[in-house]
Amino acid sequence: MQFERRAKPPLWLTLGAPLIAVAAALVLSGLLIALSGAPVFEAYGTIVTSAFGTRLAFTETLTRTTPLILTGLAAAVAFRARVWNIGAEGQFYLGAFAAVACAQWLDLPGVVMIPALMLMGALAGVILLVIPVLMRVKSGVDEVVTTLLLNFIVLLFVSLAVEGFLKDPMAFGWPKSVPLPAEARLDKLVPKTRLHAGLFVALACAVAVWVIDRFSTFGLRARAAGASAEAATFAGVPLTGTLIRVACLSGGLAGLAGAIEVMGVRGYLTTDLSPGFGYSGIVVAMLAGLNALGVVAAALFVAAVFVGTDGMSRALEVPSYIADVTVSLSLLAMLVAIFFSQWRIRR
């Protein structure tokens, strides 16, 4: 048996691959649901209703979708240029930290305050990613390792902040930061839910990234630098500059995700602000085939799986780890699907 590269993947396969992958993942997690003794079809029904069935459920899914779009975009823009940013989780937390910390020093009206804090969050993410990318370009240090390890450093730093210099004195000893002032909070889109205006920022970012990737000279150069550093160099694409700009975009999006999450949902910083949004962003980007508009759909899917499975596990007493398993299986199935859309089997 041998694999042979397809001349051009057919369109139905390119579009169908993610759907087939998702279906395969759902069937496989169905086996696990059956194993835990719950009725499989009822479980699927509960997942769907828990994610989309009520106004509250749907807004909750969209609330979860918002940071996933941004971290998904962060991974997608980086991976397109073969910058392996595994540090979106750290950039997310540092972005959230920057927003909360800066809110303490700044005293501005809401119209200025909110964009300023978002900018600060993005900037924090940029700094956190530019350093590892510079180290890779200048001295060949593997950014997979550095960005991954920085996640833990940042999380410990946030822990230090919320237990120390940013600690809320009114929190009865809980490790949480001082709350954001009211003018730094994002507006609610639907009253009495957690859904906030950050969703629009995320959607706007997706469109902007799609336009940059698809139509700009920077997007073309970044893809060239990623696909073949030699060819890009020969064509006069400045490699260092291009990768640094990619790092700014990617780190900025992840940092922005953190700032928006803290400003939109919680209003204060804790070390459990993110249930792994940074890592899930990688799954989202892969499911979307690194396409910026696809990221929106993939983020919605991943968010729905998390929210829906939570509801299902409460209703049917199935362990909620099923959500993690389903998302991970989708990623694996997607990787297999990507492979088969580019190669065909030949005996």
Binding site: A224, A227, E230, A232, F234
Partner: protein, 506 residues
């Protein structure tokens, strides 16, 4: 004919719609050197991969020394005494020569490898076949020619009695290739049987006893080299007459590029040492030399990828040392990279993006940071039309093009802008006859329009056919220029060896 040691009978192999091999039968006698001649895509490599077990044929069988060879398993081929030297070497660069040769010959379950025995056997093989190699050298430190010798030694170490070489001279300089074929003849005299794949007529005539010509997946003809000629073989291979373009004499114009005392250091090594030359309008300046003497650094310097550490480079009288690729392109420099596959194009991009990637600084292809895709595709379509790029349109993925068509695209995207200067590094390396003729015609056509061409090549026939003057490059230094009229191979050989006394500089 003596009884064959190897015979392939009625081999057919299809890949999807393409028929790579169509009912091919070939036999090989003991002690014979057989050349498998054909253009790229004629099915030579597929056939040899079937013999070696990389592919399973749809129909047909292989017999080695009277026994049927089970197909589809390289292990069986090795056990039957068939050794293969691939075009792209399969050595581990981080291991020594001895380790590479012994790799796979010992069971993984043995705790210790018997290096001493291996070393002695390797030394004996080196001695017997005249293939010198330092067993303790790291493969990453070896030149391409040395690596090939290690590949051959590896096959011999596995007790190969039939040796298959896929385009063995493709990566070698001419002296290296001559030495290789001499070695192969010697090995045949020792009783080994050899098949080598080639599309170069000269080496086929010089080294083989017999030639099988493949065309379009079929055996087009079979000839004894003693009873044929290069011209006949060329016609059989291509299926029609191919004529290489001929340079017409022409007056040189004004100086365009002037280099004075240029050093280039990269990674702490001096690659170019006091290089100086003058390049004129409408002139082809040939740079010849044994590979690894600074050709790459010279091409990189003139293409804007390396800066001079000392000396002065001017273009039309203005400083040009250390200009970026885009600045050079704006000032009318066309650049053909040494390695078209890695440097010349991004394989996963459509043709139109590769056509304009180096011109994104030009207003006609980009506005306010956005690519003008329509203009870029029109440009690409024009290149495809005027330079006869076959195998796809602007939206085709570049890696699907053959080497010749990719090179035509690269030439086209440069020449369509009528450059003042063309830097062509190894422009015909690895191309087949038809594509070589097209590329050489492009170079001469540019020259006739007044373009000043630097032609860096290891093919001496090409250097003599296309250049007005040649210089040799030896250890980063350039010889004085010599007019090509009246030059012979012996003089070129001396120039490449660094014997520059008594050259008639022009």
């Amino acid at each position: 004919m003596k009884s064959p040691v190897l015979s392939l009978d009625h081999i057919s192999k299809r890949f999807g719609e393409t028929v790579a091999n169509d009912d091919i039968s070939i036999s090989l006698a003991r002690g014979e050197v057989l050349a498998l001649l054909g253009e790229n895509g004629a099915g030579k490599t597929t056939l040899m991969n079937i013999l070696f077990g990389h592919y399973t044929p749809d129909t047909g069988s292989v017999t080695v020394e009277g026994k049927d060879l089970p197909l589809g398993r390289p292990r069986h081929a090795i056990a039957a005494g068939v050794g293969m030297v691939h075009q792209h070497f399969t050595l581990a660069p981080n291991l020594s020569v001895l380790e590479n040769v012994m790799c796979g010959t010992e069971s993984l379950w043995r705790a210790r490898s018997s290096r001493a025995t291996g070393r002695a056997r390797l030394a004996a093989l080196s001695e017997r076949f005249g293939l010198t190699a330092d067993p303790d050298a790291m493969v990453s430190d070896l030149s391409v020619g040395e690596r090939q010798r290690v590949e051959i030694l590896k096959a011999l170490y596995n007790e190969a009695r039939i040796l298959i070489l896929d385009e063995p001279s493709g990566v070698l300089t001419r002296p290296e290739a001559e030495k290789l074929f001499e070695t192969l003849r010697g090995m045949a005299r020792e009783g080994l049987s050899i098949i080598f794949i080639s599309h170069k007529l000269g080496e086929v005539m010089a080294a083989a006893d017999r030639v099988v010509i493949l065309r379009g997946g079929r055996v087009a003809a079979e000839r004894l080299t003693s009873e044929t000629s290069k011209e006949e073989l060329a016609e059989l291979m291509v299926g029609r007459r191919v004529e290489r373009p001929i340079r017409e004499s022409r007056e040189m114009g004004a100086p365009v590029v002037v280099a004075e005392g240029i050093d280039v250091e990269e990674g702490g090594v001096k690659r170019l040492d006091g290089v100086g030359f003058t390049l004129h309008e409408g002139e082809v300046l040939g740079i010849i030399g044994v590979s690894g003497n600074g050709q790459t650094a010279l091409a990189r310097l003139l293409s804007g990828l390396a800066r001079p550490t000392r000396g002065r480079l001017t273009l039309d009288g203005a400083e040009a040392g250390g200009l970026s690729p885009s600045e050079l392109i704006s000032r009318g420099v066309g650049r053909i990279p040494e390695d078209r596959n890695t440097e010349g194009a991004v394989g996963d991009f459509p043709l139109w993006q590769n056509a304009v990637l180096e011109r994104l600084h030009e207003a006609r292809f980009a506005r306010a940071g956005f690519v003008k895709a329509a203009a870029a595709k029109a440009f690409c379509a024009e290149v495809i039309g005027r330079f006869d790029v076959r195998g796809g349109g602007p939206e085709t993925q570049t890696r699907l093009l053959s080497g010749g068509n990719m090179q035509k695209l690269i030439f086209g995207r440069n020449l369509i802008a009528a450059p003042r200067v063309l830097i062509a590094a190894q422009p015909t390396r690895g191309l087949d006859e038809g594509a070589i003729a097209a590329v050489q015609a492009d170079i001469l056509d540019a020259r006739s329009k007044g373009c000043a061409v630097v032609l860096i090549t290891e093919d001496l026939d090409e250097a003599l056919a296309l250049s007005d003057r040649v210089r040799a490059i030896v250890q980063g230094r350039l010889s004085p220029p010599v007019a090509t009229e009246g030059l012979d191979a012996q003089r070129l050989g001396l120039m490449m060896a660094g014997e520059w006394e008594g050259l008639d500089a022009v």
